[in-house]
Symmetry: C2
Subunit: 110 residues, 2 copies
DNA sequence: CAATTGGTCAACCATTTGGTTGAATATGGG
DNA sequence: CCCATATTCAACCAAATGGTTGACCAATTG
């Protein structure tokens, strides 16, 4: 069985893809620009973006010859609910989160 | 690179393993009892439990010849923080969660 | 001790994953 | 029209994943 939850968690289990998601927090981006900071082929990034799209975590829209990638944070909803249940986590502290993100971007870049 | 977050999300991306986690919400269980409801070999479940242990989501302790499995919800903390950032989800509603879990257990069993 | 129970290990297998490269397909600009 | 740009496709590859079976080891019980 391959539920939505499988697909979302599996999409999140790769640090390149998580890094892409954090980049898209800033703004929508074209595929080529998403690929720029990574040391891997454009085709590889294109595949990652396909996986993210299948998971619903981003959407892609072609305008002219560029394909724009847009974060779709609602896709995390069910997964987040599933997870929170196990720990009853308090609401997230945004300062702590920014520090966390910096750490993530330093340690976790492809 | 294979960060902690990779390992946790990857552990969560399998519905058998998520089902095991929900079983362990009830109580600690022996490996054989964890395996009982699944239509797969004990060895397969043993592997899943190893993956969950490596991820920190559960711990295992051998007492006599029985190995007890225990949920370790703290392991979800960083992952949950990471996820919440993308949606600023409100604190989880426990009733909604119970409905969600029932759905999960009905649809998502191995 | 012998037999049973609980669990893992090892070897194997099919499928998926994450990457590569080179060709192909739009689309836009001069 | 021709060329450059943006992106995907196709074929390939190595490694990881999720499962199987049978042998194995450890602990309990009769």
């Amino acid at each position: 069985m391959n539920t939505k939850l499988d697909i979302v968690f599996s999409a999140l289990s790769d640090s390149t893809r998580r890094h892409i998601l954090t980049m898209l927090l800033e703004d929508d981006m074209a595929v080529t620009d998403v690929a720029e900071p990574f040391e891997m082929s454009l085709a590889a990034i294109s595949k990652h973006l396909t996986i993210l799209t299948r998971s619903g975590l981003i959407s892609q829209e072609k305008r002219g010859r560029v394909k724009w990638c847009k974060l779709e944070p609602d896709a995390l909803r069910d997964a987040s609910i599933w997870m929170q249940s196990f720990g009853q986590f308090e609401a997230v502290n945004l300062d702590a989160f920014e520090r966390f993100l910096e750490r993530e971007l330093d340690n976790d870049t492809a």
